[in-house]
Symmetry: D2
Subunit: 348 residues, 4 copies
């Protein structure tokens, strides 16, 4: 019963098959393999964005940081939610890749920052002088780190604010497919049509081995990307093994199917938790992860029963049994209905 992370799950067999098929003799290195051209076109098609620029890297931190490096100058502030992965979980990579830009945090009570709070943190137009960090890009995470999903209206409000201020919008889409399935909209609606300029389009958490696409809806922003990727050591020589993964991921709606499975497992889990008097769900759990508080004794019973998950604020095995602890439960594509049911049965 693995709820620790969608990073800990397996790759889908179709991804592995694609890698094996790509291992066909000599091919041009460094992203000039023909599959990359086909993939670029495919992503443009999916996003209804014929001008989009597309590049691949192997990790989400690389995608986020390289994109932000293209969008922010070293003296800028990047505006993001107080929960943002780029703030908390990337080891100062955004600061490294931007040459020292600052992350300015916006309150986000349920994981989503409102345009109003964002505007307050950015401040009055023109109020910043060269003493201050300059207004740089806005970065939103979709699915958020707390499991909530920005509505199209919320994204649009941020996009409108950015446009009015001459700022740009980045979306950290490590769980893009899960958000898309949650909203039931098109990829274009959730991105450039709502004001998103560049996207980290995740594959790793949703069934790939390790591949993320940097998708620039404004290709002008991508001008430095290849130079930055090389300088960051993120250009694969045997790049075909990245493009093969992403091709298979997007073929036959695999990416949507896997996200649907993960979201369904989470919905089953949420329903079970909701029905349980001891569990208190903390944020809207709209995709494939949920934060819930439980008494320590319950956490312990779950762990001893074979469940694996993160407890955010204390040791589940030691301390007063009634103390409430916060558990993060993540469902990946491979989890399945039976394991969720097994987990829920331990609750009772």
């Amino acid at each position: 019963m693995q709820f620790a992370s969608d990073n800990a799950g397996p790759a889908h067999p179709a991804i592995l098959d694609a890698i094996a098929r790509a291992n066909d003799g000599h091919q041009r290195a460094y992203g000039s393999e023909s599959a990359m051209e086909q993939l670029r076109d495919r992503i443009r098609e999916i996003f209804e964005a014929p001008e989009a620029e597309v590049h691949l890297v192997a990790t989400g931190t690389a995608a986020n940081s390289l994109i932000l490096g293209c969008m922010a100058r070293p003296w800028d502030a990047i505006f993001c939610s107080e929960h943002a992965h780029i703030e908390h979980d990337e080891g100062n990579a955004p600061e490294f890749y931007t040459g020292g830009a600052k992350l300015s945090l916006v309150p986000a009570p349920d994981g989503r920052m409102s345009a109003a709070d964002l505007e307050r943190v950015i401040g009055t137009p023109g109020a910043r002088s060269f003493h201050n960090a300059q207004p740089g890009p806005i970065s939103i995470t979709q699915v958020t780190e707390t499991g909530s999903v920005h509505s199209l209206d919320q994204i649009r409000a941020i996009g409108d604010l950015a446009r009015a201020r001459g700022q740009r919008v980045h979306m950290d889409g490590a769980r893009f497919a899960n958000a898309l399935m949650a909203l039931g909209c098109t990829p274009a609606e959730m991105t450039w049509k709502a004001g998103v300029d560049a996207l980290s389009f995740g594959g790793t958490k949703n069934g790939c081995l390790g591949v993320e696409a940097a998708v620039f809806f404004d290709p002008a922003l991508a001008q430095e990307f290849e130079l930055r990727r090389k300088r960051g050591g993120h250009l694969f020589s045997k790049h075909r093994f990245l493009s093969a993964q992403m091709q298979a991921y997007l073929a036959d709606d695999l990416w949507r199917d896997l996200a649907t499975r993960a979201n369904a497992a989470c919905a089953q889990l949420v329903a079970g938790l909701d029905a349980h008097s001891e569990a208190e769900i903390l944020y809207p759990a709209e995709a494939n992860l949920v934060f819930v508080t439980l008494p320590r004794a319950t956490c312990r019973r779950l762990i001893e029963g074979g469940a694996d998950f993160y407890v955010m604020d204390g040791d589940p095995m030691q301390g007063a049994p009634e103390t409430r602890l916060t558990a993060r439960l993540v469902c990946d594509w491979s989890l399945g209905e039976a394991r969720v049911a097994q987990f829920l049965s331990l609750l009772d």
Copy 2:
């Protein structure tokens, strides 16, 4: 007939099989999978270095730059050959990862820098003040970029100089196995026993998909590695797919066998070129690559006959047919005797 790069070649099937086997349900992420522990022990065993610290990344530029980041301070000079990959082919990644260290180039007529030339470039002990770049690590490439291989004596001379000066030695071993097979020595003899403190131990060019090990013979140098790797975006979440590759690479002497095949192909090629009046070999070709000058007409005939290789100094298809051009020919593990013979037959 692919002589363009060992980067353009396929992975060995055993590597792919290992990846498929590693895709077994949920596993701990970020390098804490049990296979990584086993691999670390295996590398320590191979190098007779029970204290060595070992980490994995996916590209050679990442390995070199992260290691140099651990060894050099931002105000240092890194001393390397005038041909060095870190100087010419990594898009300023070493400067990026060191926070702006300078690469100071040492003449290397046949690809190898002598300890004497190195000493001249470093300068008199104590002569550098805070106005100048400080004496930082020395980086040597083994196999060199020109195809020559440092003898153990040559490495030891550099190691001795470094030790005497309080400087450290890095080895860029993107083609480590090819050098090892060329010298017929042990991994320990070619590294720490000769004064090497840290090694980029390549897998990608010799049959892996994309994996390189950073091996620190002095574990004190590795203290910052994990923080630097995360900050660089080079920590894989599904790290098991890196450790699986490297485990398979080192199992059953696969790494040695593949290097032996590549070197043999190159030896066959060199023998053929040597016997040909039009070809002039430029540097000692001791491992799996050779630089040779040929008349443009010959280059063109080879290309039209189906050979793929880099011409370093001109367009092989246009210009005076008698002009001599420099070709770089790289043999990978998969090339094979027949293709080399076919290539040589085109020469006649």
Copy 3:
């Protein structure tokens, strides 16, 4: 009636005289002039810190950033007040000089952060992994940006927390003398005896042309300072014009006298504001600056009467006359009783 900034005021004549006296023929460059040795000893004496390392730069941002560069690693978080100058007014210089460290903000309702709030932001010992920014130095500003002054107990509480956690403490003392006169303690009591490891000791705001001392009570922290200063372009060739300023500043208690004058002017101002029904003072004004809210009409009357000061949150000349605006009033050594009285007379 200049209340805009102590940066806008004149240098004291004794400082100019010292510069003229230092202009005596040829002298050794780059900080090796004999006056620097004398100054270093003098500062050690004043701080009762015979081991302290002392260096000079020309700006406060340089002092803060170079010191933080010595104290923080690129993957660290620096903890500071939400009002901190290093966060808001240094154009990302701390991020630049640390190679991308992150500033983590601590609530500070009156300008001072409490040890308890600081502890909450740092988090549980050991809770941060390599995914997160590491616990780096704590930086406090004395006088704070809001005009309050940390008590010795408050500094000690932060120093104790730092010591317990293995973190270090930096003090931004751009207005050090003003704080010292406010507290009536010794320089040692306000710094190393309370747990401060390194100090930006300001001269510029208190009567110098442009000089700040970096004072390292733990000399081990200063090991890289000279290399970092040179690399930052902050090493003066004609360094004697820096040491001369600081020598004159510290001679005959000039630094204390000038701070006393500035603080007295501010006390007079605060007393006048306190007595005025329209004025609401926002923070404890314990040194030489005060934040006060006033109706726009009053702000406008002051400005039209010849007062110069910053209005933080709106245009004082346009808008509803009754709207309250926040004014920052800074008193420098040269302001004098008469000008403060003139200012207060405009209030009535």
Copy 4:
């Protein structure tokens, strides 16, 4: 008899007077004082460049590094002479301020690099891919570090090459006035008319306390300068003390007079050395510094007679008396005919 550096000499009294005059009550801080406007216009007039952008900093390393930061991207190579100050004497500041650009060295037998050698090092147009450092700005030093002066033809040849390649040209003019007096041309002829895009215009070595102007003939290059200067900690709050220096320096041809004096002293010195059988002058000494080889015994006699100068390649006081050593002799504006004569008398 001070020949160690023009950095070790005094400021001219007129510069000190100007600083004292500028110390007149409160003035706007951070470069918005009215004197800066006047100075900007004056420099535009002197350079016949009404569009030029002008900013001040206190050190030559800051001027060079901030300008190069505006001109080079982190993945660029900056091309400069093998003797360049930015390569050897700025503690990796150019690398720091450019975010890790590489300095690529061009042979310069007498201190000046030829356009032909420069072209060879830059390489064939289009030959560099994203693996390689990109072609960035070219930096020339005028007066060169060896004491020679580029002719207008030489600068133009470099400017033409840069223009043809889409690269830009920086001039390190730490001794700009000395070069100008040596060539007898106009400031415009030596800079933008010859293809120079940005200039470090030195004041410190020629009679100021510490001030250098960054002059951008292409104002588009200056867009980031103020943000970069602030981020580097190089923005003076009491900026009037920089503008006052530079104003006085340029008033009444003081800058030309001082350079003329320094050059005359050097010419006298060179004539004396030329006439001496023991002395061998190494490079054309066309401005205010000369490199000369002398027997150790002679160096020692000079030092014991009271002369102060750098010996580049050995200890003048210890070793075989007949060994030839290289001395660098720099003449500043304050040196005077009598001291040169005294020095030469020691030679005999």
